[in-house]
């Protein structure tokens, strides 16, 4: 969507229609908030600016503070700008046992990025995440919506090196 439309507090027509449809699934439309916020975040460059928070609140007839609170509570919503991709590397026990910490060091060194940070060229934001539910094929990471299991440094490089 264009920056102008975003400034005017409008979501794209398609997104509007999808959210309206989501709202019909519940007796109270507020229940569609979190599923809708995934779509909103995607349309608004991957994060919730003050403006996006205001637009979301307006659409759902809740306070800005409510939306802000939801953004802060859930790890998948971002309160700050992110890179073009989000890389989530699991840090929890099964992945730790299978070498996830060394993989973290590898990513930090090779791509010059800290956990929570974004590469200088804006390609990806790197996050350590708690258990991502692929413990039997640990260690694992999610890149946007794609999953990569039984990771090794070379597997990681094949994926991250191909991001644009």
């Amino acid at each position: 969507m264009s920056a102008k439309a975003a400034r005017e507090g409008k979501f794209s027509k398609e997104l509007h229609a999808t959210i309206e449809d989501l709202m019909t699934r519940y007796p109270q439309k507020k229940a569609a908030l979190i599923p809708a916020m995934h779509l909103i975040q995607k349309e608004r460059e991957g994060w919730f600016s003050r403006e996006t928070i205001r637009d979301t609140a307006e659409l759902f007839a809740v306070s800005d503070a409510h939306v802000q609170g939801v953004v802060g509570f859930y790890d998948m919503f971002h309160a700050d700008p992110v890179g073009r991709h989000v890389v989530r590397l699991c840090k929890t026990l099964s992945c730790m046992l299978r070498g996830a910490d060394a993989l973290k060091d590898h990513i930090c060194e090779k791509y010059d990025v800290e956990p929570g940070g974004t590469t200088d060229d804006g390609t990806f934001t790197f996050k350590r995440f708690e258990c991502l539910g692929h413990c039997t094929t640990a260690p694992m990471m999610l890149v946007d919506e794609e999953k990569y299991e039984e990771l090794t440094p070379s597997k990681i490089d094949a994926v991250l090196g191909g991001l644009s």
């Binding site: 916020m37 759902f60 939801v70 998948m76 929890t92 730790m96 299978r98 258990c131």
Partner: protein, 423 residues
């Protein structure tokens, strides 16, 4: 020799099982047809009671009994299926949703029929886009075929099934947090009573069950409660999905009848022992929130009641194994980091306590732990136990105290000798 008994995973290796056509060819939606055309709702519940099915989400509550708590009222009733699957080590519900999603949808419809609900929400953790996609496709196919929606299979029964995505918060797997989250809020647990079966979503009666529990319902109605009760052992009937992870040769998600093997047989015979060939140092038998078992404690039969007798729990069916190359200080800190990050912050003992435990364990790991820290670890965890709204606090206390108790020597050896204050 242990072998799998595959019921929920019977067709999991066939990629076409995801489609309605193949699911039906393999006997799918026969249970629903039978229930809607030949059984009263109460008879569905009776069959589930007879099966002995206990919840697969961690607490092992008898499923049919929970359904019976739903009061007779004119209010709408809801089914909320817990697919938040975030307990470390657990990745079984994903197999059902991604490999054979229709059995979950069929179970959802059967459960709604039994409890008098017309809407089911499947609350899937946001980090599971593949599960969400597989379920949405399956629901769409079922809706187009007259299996979800109005006049299901030509009967008067109507029921909608919706996928609802979470957004990354472990606490939303706790049943009351799941409800507050589903209503569009931060996922804060609520005090009970009222129990969700009486007052849940939008103040209406709501049954909350785990994905695997609901998948079992499909097979129970298809083949009978007596058949299910004949599998496994008393107290742990049917089959269960187990996720074995960590330092084993053959990690994976497997389906077994409980009570037919010991944990040692599972790990040594079935999973090929440790990856490195080194001795096992510890096993978390039911997710990271349960007390650890030492190598000499692995000879218990593997079912809910036998594992409970060891002082631990079968929990969510996630078995995490570590060999003797692992420092218990690292493992304990990793677990504490998880629960302190996931504490929702409502209760002071949990919010402050989990943070405190994490900081002290970090001190131990860095070689700066003291006798005083050791004492504080015990008193802080004692004070967290049973003083909070939900069981997340205990989910940190139980494993942590088990590490302190069972590997005391390792903590003591890592301690600094001079006395020092903490925090």
């Amino acid at each position: 020799m242990i072998s799998e008994t595959r019921i929920m995973l019977e067709f999991a290796d066939d990629p076409a099982q995801k489609t309605l056509e193949t699911y039906r060819k393999n006997g799918g939606y026969q249970a629903l047809e039978k229930a809607l055309k030949e059984m009263k709702p109460g008879e569905v519940t009776e069959e589930v009671l007879k099966s002995g099915l206990r919840g697969r989400g961690g607490a092992g509550f008898p499923c049919g009994r929970k359904w019976q708590f739903v009061p007779k009222t004119d209010k709408p009733k809801y089914l909320a299926i817990n697919a938040d699957e975030s307990e470390p080590g657990t990745c079984k519900d994903r197999q059902i949703m991604e490999l054979d999603p229709h059995q979950l949808i069929e179970g959802a419809l059967l459960t709604c029929y039994a409890i008098g609900a017309e809407t089911a929400y499947i609350y899937v953790r946001g980090e599971y886009p593949h599960s969400i996609g597989a379920l949405e496709n399956a629901i769409e196919e079922a809706r187009a075929a007259g299996i979800v929606g109005k006049k299901i299979l030509g009967t008067k029964f109507r029921c909608d099934v919706w996928v609802h995505s979470g957004a990354g918060a472990y606490i939303c797997g706790e049943e009351t947090a799941l409800l507050t989250s589903l209503e569009g809020n931060r996922g804060y647990p609520r005090l009970r009573p009222p129990f969700p079966a009486v007052e849940g979503l939008w103040g209406c009666p709501t049954v909350i069950n785990n994905v695997e529990t609901i998948a079992c319902v499909t097979h129970i109605i298809k083949r009978g409660g007596d058949w299910f009760a004949g599998l496994g052992c008393e107290g742990s009937t049917g089959t269960r999905l187990f996720c074995v992870s960590g330092h084993v040769q053959k990690p994976g998600v497997y389906e077994f009848e409980c009570g037919k093997f010991t944990l040692r047989e599972l790990l040594e015979d079935f999973c090929g022992g440790t990856l490195s060939g080194r001795p096992i140092k510890g096993v978390m038998p039911g997710g990271s929130s349960m007390p650890v078992l030492l190598p000499e404690e692995l000879d218990c039969q593997f079912d809910i009641d036998s594992v409970a007798k060891t002082g631990s729990s079968l929990g969510s069916g996630a078995i995490m194994v570590f060999d003797d190359s692992v420092s218990i200080l690292d493992a304990a800190l990793n677990v504490a980091e998880f629960y302190s990050h996931e504490s929702c912050g409502q209760c002071t003992p949990c919010r402050e306590g989990s943070d405190w435990v994490r900081k002290i364990l970090k001190k131990f790991k860095d070689g700066n732990g003291t006798q005083r820290d050791w004492d504080v670890l015990w008193s802080v965890t004692d004070n967290m136990d049973g003083t909070t709204i939900c069981a997340l606090a205990e989910a940190l206390v139980w494993p942590t105290q088990s590490y302190l108790k069972k590997y005391e020597a390792e903590f003591k050896a890592a301690m600094k000798s001079e006395a020092g204050a903490t925090a």
